[in-house]
């Protein structure tokens, strides 16, 4: 387990723009990410894209079909689509009730260290969960955030010209049944959610506000503007 607490601040207070896309299909959100990456490469402001996806299984660059435990037709019958994408990592599921965060940051202003960046994303989730009374932790050698042996947040990133895209998914009240159709991240790991851990319904809206707060804290960013779709 990685020690508690925060890494030393890397840079003090840049401004960040929040773009909340609400419930959106994967491909539309990806097109938005790509356009935002280009803006940030050209000097635009750091942006945190937040959203929820319609049910989708995404396969990262190292994903293999063997990690699907059911036929494609079964997935589709449940209303889910399948996308192969250019993030790192294996197969995972995204769906309603899951907070998706796509930080589009120029890592030249933070740290040009991919593991350090992912570690800071994990710390945002650990802090967020702690606020809601859930004890969560990071493991060295295993990306993501865990409650005991159960995984509650997953990470997969892409970096182009040192600008980050893709990011992190936190299960708030996700239908965990979808994860039983795959080996999440290629592992025999049980997935969990905030609702399951707390034994009560948790609203995505309240989690989102706290996520923004802890994201700003961990990355030394100041909330600047919120976009409205």
């Amino acid at each position: 387990m990685v020690g508690a607490g925060h890494d030393p601040p890397l840079r003090v207070y840049m401004q960040m723009y929040i773009q909340d896309l609400g419930l959106i299909d994967y491909q539309t959100a990806y097109a938005f990410q790509k356009a935002t990456v280009q803006k940030v490469i050209e000097g635009g402001q750091a942006t945190l894209i937040l959203c929820e996806h319609a049910p989708v299984f995404t396969l990262g660059r190292i994903a293999t079909e063997e990690n699907f435990l059911v036929q494609r037709a079964t997935l589709e019958a449940q209303g889910a689509t399948v996308c192969r994408i250019n993030r790192g990592g294996e197969v995972t599921f995204h769906g309603p009730g899951q907070l998706i965060a796509y930080p589009i940051l120029n890592l030249n202003y933070f740290s040009k260290d991919l593991k350090l960046y992912m570690g800071k994303l994990e710390q945002v989730a650990v802090d967020l969960l702690q606020y809601f009374g859930i004890v969560a932790h990071r493991f060295s050698g295993r990306t993501g955030v865990f409650c005991g042996g159960r995984k509650i947040a997953t990470i997969g990133i892409g970096v182009r010209r040192w600008v980050s895209f893709h990011g992190m998914a936190v299960n708030v009240s996700t239908d965990l049944g979808f994860f039983s159709m795959i080996k999440p991240c290629g592992l025999d790991v049980q997935m969990t959610s905030m609702s399951k851990e707390l034994g009560r319904s948790v609203e995505l809206k309240e989690v989102k506000e706290k996520f923004i707060e802890y994201f700003c804290l961990n990355f030394n960013l100041e909330l600047h503007l919120r976009g409205v779709v």
Binding site: I41, G60, R61, I62, N86, R87, G88, G89, S111, K112, D113, L114, K115, L116, M118, T143, I155, G156, I157, G158, V159, R160, R161
Partner: protein, 77 residues
């Protein structure tokens, strides 16, 4: 003049990466910043782009290759 395109440092703990996509081919006219190859390391992908405008003369790697940090991936003239 031939310019080398190398895999940059990706952080303290990362020593190697796997070539997961080759975007450009020999003979392509590249602008500075155009993607040449994508590398994967565990949960991250990283695009290596043209360090200057020119013609892609050589690509030394293919999909599936494991490359070391600092290794030359391509030449631009």
């Amino acid at each position: 003049m031939m310019v080398e395109v190398k895999l940059p440092e990706l952080g303290e703990e990362i020593k190697t990466a796997i070539v997961s996509c080759v975007y450009a081919k020999v003979g392509d006219c590249l602008k500075e910043g155009d993607d040449i190859v994508e590398l994967t390391t565990d949960k991250a992908t990283f695009n290596v782009s043209a360090t200057r405008t020119g013609v892609l003369k050589k690509i030394l790697v293919k999909e599936g290759d494991e490359v070391l940090i600092g290794q030359t991936l391509a030449f631009i003239e």
